[in-house]
């Protein structure tokens, strides 16, 4: 589903160019859930940005559902994101002047789906926020806002979901709720999940964990392997 070949990212700063990602290659299969873990500044969010087509690689190739992101311009990448990708962010990233319902409807409308309002109402019900549909983001708690964001991410039934520190701004109780909701929906919809976090507990929920360290990516382990090891 996702394939990265020798992806590098170099940015130009006032003190010369800075290599943020060393050549990175890896693959994520359909339906897998992958956690990218690492310390702050290790480059994990940069990698997420590249994989999701929000940023351009300096060198290398990225394929999303067999489509080469590296050959596309911003417009083409936007269309691809709209059709196949969902997002969840640490700071929720809801449009403040739209209600919860309208925020959820937004990707469906952009993708031109039929009856976005019904789709949004249904999915808000699934995340338990139907009664808060007409509230604005600043009238919701952090946990509620992230649930709206999750509903928004799943409304178009994307093939791939990118999540950037989805529980980073939440307390322990809300984090738990969000985690279970995220993985439940992910399972129900058969979505491929790429999740960036520095929270090991959250990472453990994923089938694979990749570790970023100073711009280099190493495969740590996978839950399948762990189970396999335990079984042995």
């Amino acid at each position: 589903m996702i394939k990265a070949n020798s992806v590098t990212k170099i940015v130009n700063t006032s003190e010369g160019s800075l290599q943020i990602l060393r050549p990175i290659s890896f693959e994520v299969k359909s339906g897998e859930s992958v956690a990218i873990i690492g310390a702050s500044g290790s480059g994990k969010s940069t990698l997420l940005g590249l994989l999701a087509g929000l940023d351009e690689v300096t060198e290398g190739e990225i394929y999303l559902d067999d489509e080469g992101l590296h050959n596309m311009d911003e417009e083409q990448r936007a269309v691809l994101r709209g059709n196949k990708v969902g997002f969840i962010f640490q700071s929720f990233m809801l449009v403040q002047s739209l209600t919860a319902l309208e925020n959820v409807m937004l990707p469906a409308e952009i993708a031109g789906l039929d009856n976005p309002k019904k789709l949004a109402t249904d999915i808000l019900e699934q995340v338990g926020l139907k009664h808060r549909a007409n509230h604005f983001p600043n009238q919701l708690s952090g946990g509620e806002q992230q649930r709206v964001a999750i509903a928004r991410a799943f409304i178009t039934s994307p093939k791939i979901l990118f999540a950037d520190e989805p529980t980073g701004n939440l307390d322990a109780k809300n984090s738990e709720k969000i985690e279970s909701l995220l993985f439940q929906l992910n399972k129900d919809k058969g979505t491929t999940l790429v999740l960036v976090t520095h929270d090991n507990a959250l990472a453990q929920h994923c089938t694979r964990q990749l570790t970023m360290n100073a711009g280099e990516l190493t495969e740590t382990t996978s839950r399948v392997d762990e189970q396999h090891i335990e079984a042995v």
């Binding site: 969010s45 997420l48 940005g49 999701a52 929000l54 940023d55 911003e74 417009e75 936007a78 269309v79 691809l80 994101r81 709209g82 059709n83 990708v85 997002f87 962010f89 700071s91 929720f92 990233m93 809801l94 449009v95 403040q96 002047s97 739209l98 209600t99 309208e102 937004l106 990707p107 409308e109 952009i110 993708a111 031109g112 604005f136 983001p137 600043n138 928004r152 950037d164």
Partner: protein, 840 residues
């Protein structure tokens, strides 16, 4: 399209309801309301003023001609829907028994006058009353002076040319009597049908034919467009209210320029506030755009959403602005209705169109750059908040906003000069401000360090928010400068008008005073407690040659229209002589001949020439001018050129010769005096011992001028109040916009435990600093633009206003400081968590 409209409509609806569009909406509402109320008010006022000044030429326009006016032209004017009237004017001798006198004969047709009214009185020098009638055939209405000169009474007969007329009324005034104390023979008004039989219009006589035209502005302009190419410059002169060069004409013209200026400044104020608001609006939408792009929105969709939204905001702003502007203007009109004449026409299309065009152009052009910035926000911003717009080139912004302001000013004023002056001083101001901001930042770096007191916080913030502050400083300064220009211009203009005709301005002129009568007259007036002005000697002479080259001495152009050669004065000159420079006269070249040297080195007598006539006749310093006085020749040399204030009510002269040159002539004297209205009945007795003197009554004229000046002054004051209100609202909007930006910082400071007092004081100090710098810069820029405006547009003397160099920074500091304190106080009433939540 439906997706983008739905999204735009939804954003618009919610944001409007939640008050998030208030600032940009307010800016558009303000611009539309200010422009509509100002231009509608001034249009209505101008309508009234125009019709008043139209009374001075008895029509909206006149065609003066040396030959009878083509009847087809008059017919064409009537076809265009204009009213027309005719006059034939000439100088003629009038006889009554053994007495005779030269009169200014005016024959008019039934339609005369189209504007203004004829006034008459029951007896010579009696109370005047307006009359809506004209002399019948065989009747003559004559001015009081002719009763004196011919020793006649009402009902007596007089002879003019081959005709005999019965004097049936005392004529006081006709609207276009003209206003000159020289060449003023008493007016005699007769019926047009009598002209033929008089035989005074034959070959060799000097006759002026006048056609009068009045009607709708559009009809008048389409007629004049048709007529002007048919005119012969040598024969015809087209004159409209706007061409009126009298004191009244100039006052009205200056008032019109002032209204124009005020409205232009209102447009700039509106533009500044829209620019500030649009910038703020765009910045607030950086996140939503990044989110939408991340969720798959194409650039085209984003563009559509925001363009539709801006259009919705603009439409709403224009609609509210039109309502507020109209109501505001109606309120002002009802408040000033007692002091000022305004046209009763409530609805004028031009102001409405201007207001809508201004609102739309400002909103769209000033939001262009912020919107382009918005469109360029990359989706990556969802992960990295520090990434904002990709658009870096600010030159586009300067070109878009500069171009928008300039074209609006030009389009509206249709006056390149005024627009260019205001625009260039605006640019000078912006450059100065950028330099000032730089100095502030450097200062801030020094002062903003050390222990954190409110002053340190204020300086540190100024330093940190350098770019934002420079924008804010510029907008504050522009606003203050524009307010200063309107305020100071109004003060200068009104005081200049008032000084033209101070209390006690002479309202009667005496001419034909012979040298033997002069001392007696002086004593007689003194005995009666009337202050009499200086006596100026006057003698009629012909200006015949410049440097021995003969000039055209024809009395009027009509006599010899095709004669070639050097242009002359066109009539006899009134020569005076003096060794003292008259007050309100200023030497602009050479030296006044006050010295003891009677003759110049060429052996000629010095003469001082008025600047305008020198330019018109091509006379320069050192030229030899020859005058023919009676049978004598007087040769003079130009030793000075004078500027004369023609707007004062004192005798002014083109040529002032050295007294020694004129010693052998016996002059008559001219003088003036002031007599209060309540003493007017004494006039006849006062002048009884001096039968040979002619009196010229300008009291009515002075009162008319004063009335108009007073009206215009009141109107100008209201315009000033309107602009001040608009400006204050702009300042408030600017402070509000900047408070929005400060919210985050205040939230953090409060979270860190800073006391409300510290934050409040630091914000107030910051605004005090910005306000005083803005005020000072505005005072400097104000001087520059005022000087240029006064000297090249308003034809006034340029003046410096040092007091404002102190007033502007203090008022700027106080007003901006108070606004800042108020805005900050509102923020501090929110609790910290509310503020933090609002930041998300």
């Amino acid at each position: 399209m439906s997706t983008s409209f739905n999204l735009a409509w939804r954003l618009f609806r919610h944001e409007a309801r939640r008050g998030e569009l208030t600032i940009i909406l307010l800016a558009i509402v303000l611009s539309v309301a200010a422009v509509l109320s100002l231009s509608l008010f001034s249009e209505r006022l101008q309508g009234a003023l125009k019709s008043r000044s139209a009374a001075f030429i008895a029509a909206d326009a006149q065609l003066r001609s040396g030959e009878p006016i083509d009847e087809n032209w008059l017919a064409k004017a009537r076809e265009e829907g204009l009213s027309t009237a005719k006059q034939v004017a000439t100088r003629s001798m009038v006889f009554s028994g053994d007495n005779m006198s030269l009169v200014d004969l005016r024959a008019v047709n039934q339609q005369y006058p189209l504007k203004g009214a004829i006034s008459v009185s029951d007896q010579p020098f009696g109370e005047k009353q307006e009359i809506n009638a004209l002399p019948a055939e065989g009747e003559a209405w004559v001015q009081a002076r002719l009763f004196q000169a011919l020793n006649i009474a009402l009902g007596d007969e007089i002879e003019i040319g081959d005709g005999v007329f019965t004097v049936t009324r005392v004529l006081v005034d006709i609207p276009d009597a003209g206003f000159s104390i020289f060449n003023t023979d008493p007016i005699t008004l007769i019926n047009m049908n009598d002209v033929e039989r008089l035989g005074v219009t034959g070959p060799g006589s000097r006759v002026r034919y006048i056609g009068y035209f009045s009607g709708e502005v559009s009809a008048l302009s389409s007629f004049s467009d048709w007529l002007l190419p048919n005119l012969n410059d040598e024969l015809h002169a087209w004159r409209t209210v706007a061409d009126d060069e009298s004191a009244i004409g100039r006052s009205v013209a200056n008032a019109e320029r002032y209204f124009l200026l005020a409205s232009l400044l209102a447009i700039v104020l509106a533009a500044v506030s829209i620019a500030v608001a649009a910038q703020r609006y765009a910045q607030r939408h950086f996140d939503p755009v990044a989110i939408m792009k991340t969720l798959g929105a194409t650039s085209q969709l984003i563009r559509q959403v925001y363009l539709i939204q801006i259009m919705l905001i603009t439409l709403l702003g224009i609609a509210i602005g039109l309502v507020i502007g109209f109501i505001g203007q109606q309120v002002v009109v009802s408040l000033v209705a007692e002091q000022v004449d305004v046209s009763l026409d409530v609805w004028h299309w031009r102001p409405l169109l201007i207001a809508v065009a201004t609102g739309a152009t400002c909103a769209l052009l000033f939001s262009l750059y912020p919107l382009l910035q918005l469109f360029s926000v990359p989706p990556l911003r969802v992960l990295r908040k520090d990434i904002s717009a990709n658009l870096r080139s600010r030159s586009l912004q300067f070109i878009a906003s500069g171009g928008a302001i300039f074209s609006l000013m030009w389009m509206y004023s249709q006056d390149l000069k005024v627009s260019a002056i205001l625009f260039s001083s605006g640019i000078a101001l912006v450059l100065g401000l950028l330099a000032a901001t730089y100095v502030l930042i450097v200062l801030g770096r020094r002062l903003g360090s050390g222990r954190m007191g409110p002053w340190q916080l204020a300086w540190a913030r100024i330093k940190r928010r350098a770019m934002d502050n420079s924008v804010q400083l510029i907008s504050f300064s522009v606003t203050i400068m524009l307010l200063l220009v309107v305020l100071v211009m109004r003060n200068d203009m009104v005081s200049q008008w008032r000084s033209q005709l101070p209390e006690g301005t002479p309202n009667y002129f005496l001419i034909n005073i012979t040298p033997d009568i002069q001392p007696k007259l002086d004593r007689h007036f003194n005995d009666n407690g009337i202050q009499i002005d200086e006596f100026y000697p006057v003698i009629r002479g012909r200006f015949v040659a410049v440097n021995d080259e003969g000039v055209n001495t024809a009395v009027s152009k009509e006599d010899e229209p095709n004669r070639e050669g050097r242009q002359g004065l066109g009539r006899e000159a009134n020569l005076t002589w003096s060794s003292t420079l008259q007050k309100e006269n200023k030497i602009v070249e050479g030296e006044w001949h006050a010295g003891t040297d009677t003759l110049t080195k060429e052996g000629l007598y010095p003469v001082s020439v008025e600047a305008g006539v020198a330019e018109r006749l091509g006379i320069s310093m050192g030229d030899k001018l020859t005058f023919n006085v009676g049978s004598e020749i007087v040769e003079t040399s130009v030793t000075s050129i004078r500027e004369v204030n023609w707007q004062t009510m004192q005798p002014n002269f083109f040529f002032v010769i050295h007294p020694d040159a004129m010693a052998s002539f016996s002059p008559t004297y001219i003088t003036s005096f002031y007599l209060p209205t309540e003493r007017k009945p004494e006039l006849t007795n006062l002048l009884r011992p001096f039968g040979s003197i002619t009196m010229f009554d300008v009291d009515a004229r002075i009162n008319q001028v004063r009335e108009i000046v007073d009206q215009v002054s009141v109107a100008v004051e209201f315009i000033l109040v309107l602009v001040l209100m608009a400006g204050s609202l702009v300042l408030i909007a600017q402070v509000q916009a900047s408070m929005d930006e400060r919210r985050q910082e205040i939230a953090i400071l409060r979270t860190l435990g800073a006391k409300g007092g510290l934050i409040r004081r630091s914000v107030i100090y910051e605004f005090l600093i910005i306000g005083s710098v803005a005020g000072f810069m505005a005072a400097l820029a104000n001087e520059l633009s005022l000087y240029m405006l006064q000297t090249s547009v308003f034809q006034m003397e340029g003046s410096l206003h040092f007091e404002y160099w102190a007033i502007a920074p203090s008022v700027g500091a106080v007003v901006v400081g108070i606004l800042g304190a108020f805005g900050c106080w509102r923020l501090l009433t929110l609790n910290t968590s509310q503020m933090l939540r609002k930041m998300v």
